[in-house]
Structures are given as C-alpha cells and as structure tokens.
Symmetry: C2
C-alpha cells in the first residue's frame, strides 16, 4: 500500500475469491458499457436497467458522469486529453465495481474506440458488455433533451460529438439497440436478456420474486 | 453524461435509493479507512476484516494500493503531489463503493490529515470510519515486513514515512487500535464491534450463521 517505489509493487489478489462474491450476491460482477450519441438514451436506459436489476434482487450501480465530474474527475476539464482521461478513470472504476461483484453500468458518449477498448481491458476478463445505442444522429438531434445540439449548431459549443466531432461506432458490440424503434422498457428487456444469457444475472423467475424473497 | 461544458452539469441522484440498497444487502454502505505507518498491520487487518465480513454474508471490498497503482492510478508517480492525488482518488472511489452499498475498506499510510479529511468528505455523510493503527514506529521498524525501513535507513528510499517524512496522527479517529498489544484477530473483532455499534453491519448472531444461510 502506498509504497514509495514502484519496484516494490506486487499484485495482491483479494483473499476473498470472485466465486465467493458470486455466491453472496447471486450474480457475476460485470461492466455494462453504454455508448452512443448525446440523446441516444444512455441515461434513461442505464437508470431503468439499474432499477430493474435492484428490484429483482441484483446489485447494480450506475456510474454517472456528472456526479463523477464533481468528485473523482473534478480536476479534469474538457480538452481532448482530459476527456480521454475521464473515460480512462471511469473504465477503471467500473472494473473495480465489477471485481467487487456488482453489475457496473457506465453510460458515456465515449466516442473513440480506443477509450472503449481501454475500458474493456480494465474490466475483469470476459465481463465487459459493450452496448451500442445505435440511433441516427437526426433522431438524437430532434430529441435534444438538454438543448446541446441546438447550442452546438449555434456555435455555442465546440467539439460536440455528432456535430463538429466524430463518433466512432463500435465494430462488434455485444449488444446493439436502436432506441428510435424500441421503447426504453423494450431496450432494457433486451439488455437484461443479454445479461441473463451470459450468466451474469440469474434467469428471470416469475418476475424475480423468488430472488427478492430470499435476498431481502 | 460526458457533457461538453460544466455549466450543464447537474447532480443526478440515483433513482435507486440508499435504503433500497440497504434492504438488498442487509448493511449500510460505509468507508473503513485504515491509516498508520508501514508495518502497522493495515494490509493484514484489512484482508482479515474483508474475509470476516464476507463469511458472515456482508459485502466488503478492499481497495488495494498496489492494484490501484497498476490501474486507475497508473499515471501517478511518487512525488508529494502525486501521492496526494493518489489518496484523493482513492477517497472518491471508496465513497462510490460505499454509495453503492458496500463496506469499502481502504488501507493506506495516508500520512497527512488533509488527505484523510478529503477522503472523509468524499464518503456518504456519517459513513466514514477512520481507524488509526496506533503502533510505535520502533515496533513497525522491527517488523519491517517489506524491508522498507531498512532501505530507508540505508538511504535507498527518501521521504519514507516515519523515517524522513512525517506522519500526522489522527486527532479523533473513530477507532484506535494498537496492533503491538492486540492480535490481528482481536483487532478485527474490535473493528467489527465498532461497525455493528454504528449499525453499518448487523449484530453478530451466533457467528453470523443466520445471515449466511439466508443470503447464500
């Protein structure tokens, strides 16, 4: 801990094994990484997914960008370097949460493949679910829930993803959802199915009642 | 999330409440922050505490400095500024884990009061347990489990806490343990008692058997 020279660093594995955490929580820790343009539905879907998981007795936690910008990442601005560092740190925090056994839900534009690759590497092996909210930019711009596209078009924002700055779509995301054709509820159901299929959370059992009863 | 200008940031509270997390986990998320000289027993006690908690059905997670130095904090060196930043980030990550419902255990020399104050502020209000491993430096130096005091005395390390660099003892830690007069097991028992007393983890019930049975 806090050692003065890196040559003394050794990787100390937790004496509590991942299997013990799985037995305790009835789930496998993983990272659900939602990427997509502003207005693609990341925030809505991440909160709804967390809600559904917790309601059925699973431990999930949304990493919220705005909250992090006021805490861990309060020292970062919005230069390209700082944005990359923002995503790098979030990737590692999500990985820690997954290592602790949680379903860590991260919802960030994260426009660059390299940033998302970095997040995948920081997660426990095989426990990263990249979810691409694949929505046409026209739809996002029409929704414009925070008025950001309008500001970007008016020149009040620079480097806005989808307007002045590029978005690199994932090449082979684990899950792809078009929220212009699916409701938030349908999107989350689709996501839950993907998590169950991978064995990260238990199969749906009559609305999760059994799990809830034994866990509360 | 990932907004381009800080003026658009708003604190988005999780729609899952802390009370729901408490019901799910049967505990209150909190940060247990162990501070003390190198060799004071931080690592041993933190791992044993995690072990004991998980064995009795509670979800605990040790933030390990060496692991973090290879991930989230891999960009940091050992200058005074980087050490302060290391502790700052760890404080925020511990706070996030506690917010997610876990008993987050952080074991770091964290020699300066300001660093520990910063960690306290980053934790959910009233959920920070500062644990001072109050062991005479002579005892730590005699133990010298990693041979660091020897190297520091030989001039191979500079700014080593307790030799060339100061350690500011906590003025009013929630828990004080002298591991030169208590065994690791006794120390952890003392700590568990403090956590139960505050209601963060449930009372000891016949060795935690009941909890284990219903949660697994």
């Amino acid at each position: 801990m806090d050692e003065p020279r890196s040559r003394y660093l050794t990787w100390e594995s937790s004496r509590v094994t991942p299997e013990q955490r799985e037995r305790l929580l009835g789930q496998q820790g993983c990272v659900v990484w939602l990427t997509g343009l502003s207005g693609s539905g990341k925030s809505t879907i991440s909160r709804l997914l967390e809600r559904r998981l917790v309601d059925s007795g699973q431990l999930a936690y949304v990493l919220d960008g705005d909250n992090l910008r006021q805490g861990l990442n309060a020292d970062l601005g919005f230069s390209p370097e700082d944005r990359a560092e923002n995503i790098r740190r979030i990737g590692h925090v999500a990985g820690l949460l997954a290592d602790a056994g949680l379903v860590a839900i991260a919802a960030f534009i994260s426009p660059y493949r390299e940033g998302r690759r970095c997040a995948r590497r920081a997660a426990p092996a095989g426990r990263f679910v990249e979810v691409f909210l694949d929505v046409p930019v026209e739809v996002c711009e029409e929704r414009d829930p925070k008025g950001l596209y309008r500001k970007a078009r008016a020149g009040e924002l620079s480097d806005f993803t989808g307007v002045q700055a590029p978005y690199e779509p994932p090449e082979s995301p684990e899950v792809r959802i078009d929220t212009s054709t699916m409701t938030p509820e349908e999107s989350v159901e689709h996501l839950l199915h993907a998590l169950r299929e991978r064995g990260f959370v238990p199969p749906d059992t009559a609305g999760g009642d059994r799990v809830t009863r034994t866990r509360r």
